[in-house]
Amino acid sequence: MAILDVRTRSGYLFLAVMLGHVILISAQVNSRSGVSLLESVTFGVFSEVQRGSSSGFSSVRNVWSRYVGLRHVEAENASLKRELDDVKIQLQERRALADRAKGLQALLDLRDRSNLQTMAAEIIASSSSPDFRTMTIDKGTGYGLRPDMAVIAPAGVVGRVVIPTLRSSKVQMLVDRNAAVGALIERSRAQGVAMGSGDPRLRLEYVSETADVVVGDLVVTSGIDGIFPKGFTIGSIDAVEKSGPSYKRITIKPAVDFSSLEEVLVVLTPTPIHQAEGGRE
């Protein structure tokens, strides 16, 4: 079909003339929508070009904004991590404050319940070697503290003041091997003496053979020692060993967790022993 070969100069001219005629005719023919066919086709083609260019532009813009966004996210991530660390520290501080407030509230409740004149004190040091179970509180004679004043906590009896100074005092814990406190089995009203042994448990001594003591019994202060007010919790019976009719060994698990104490109350109300000392003076 050499005669219809459009790859020649005349062929291109023929195509151009045909295109010109088609455009000319299309400009005069209305489409179904009433718009000129040329206008309709031109707009349709151009709208596709617009759609393509818009799509391309949107893609480029999206890629760019995501790239920029990622850079911002990296900086924001680092900033948020720093902020999170700060918040964690603040949270710990708030939690510590809350715990402290809770402890102080418990002390206040204890003071209200006991109807005793007490002085709140903060534990500033403690020694927990087997030989010396003592702690140091931040109140001393300047606040009215004197030797042998009872030290209590919301959970129970802590110990007694042994060496008060002007601004601080040493407190002997119940678990010290030289400590002792008059005790009473709350259920059976059996009496004895709770003594420290240097380890975390107390021993209940001088209990009558006829006394009714079972594991789990609550042990409270009897008040006969003249130091500790009557009725404060010492702990609960942890083990009971009998040798014949007599008790061989009774151990008490202290109600107070000495390792976690932070604040205590010192009982300022004169006990009989203090009153006697006061009378002698």
Binding site: S10, V17, H21, L24, I25, Q28, V29
Partner: protein, 169 residues
């Protein structure tokens, strides 16, 4: 010069088409503009045929057509281009081949015109075979006559000049 001659031929054909031909019996069946386009295509080639068809067709559409301008131009451009190719690829020097070319060119022209008009809603579908055949016949006769006339005319003038010079001697 050649372009001016072609334009002049187109103008004359249009003038004759609109004035003389419609007063002659069967004259309305002749498309003198198409005859000029095919004649130019056969004598000058496809490009000349194409451009002549374009110009002549557009002028004819703009002057005579009441429908879309460009249908006649498109049809005459195609016919002029193809006729020009035929004229350069084949030996079309005898009356019969020329008659056939004019005849087929007219049929093709009508087919394109009617087809486009129907497609574009300018004319209801239908095939006026007799009218097309009559126009093709008339165009072919006029076209062949135009070739004969054009081939005789330069010789007649030459002969007349020769006779005058002989009388002077």
């Amino acid at each position: 010069m050649k372009i001016a001659g072609i334009l002049l031929a187109i103008v004359l054909a249009l003038a004759a088409q609109t004035t003389i031909a419609r007063h002659l019996a069967g004259g309305s069946a002749v498309d003198l503009v198409l005859v000029v386009v095919v004649y130019v295509a056969l004598t000058s080639g496809s490009v000349a045929g194409l451009l002549t068809g374009t110009v002549a067709g557009l002028i004819q559409d703009s002057l005579l057509s009441t429908g879309l301008i460009g249908i006649g131009g498109l049809a005459k451009s195609i016919v002029g281009f193809v006729a020009g190719i035929i004229g350069t690829q084949f030996i079309v020097t005898q009356s019969l081949p020329r008659f056939l070319v004019f005849f087929v060119a007219t049929v093709a022209h009508q087919a394109i015109t009617i087809g486009l008009s129907v497609v574009l809603g300018q004319q209801s579908p239908g095939a006026p075979y007799a009218a097309v055949a009559g126009e093709a016949l008339a165009n072919a006769v006029v076209g062949v006559a135009a070739f004969q006339l054009a081939e005789l005319l330069p010789g007649a003038v030459e002969r007349r000049r020769m006779g005058k010079s002989r009388l002077r001697r």
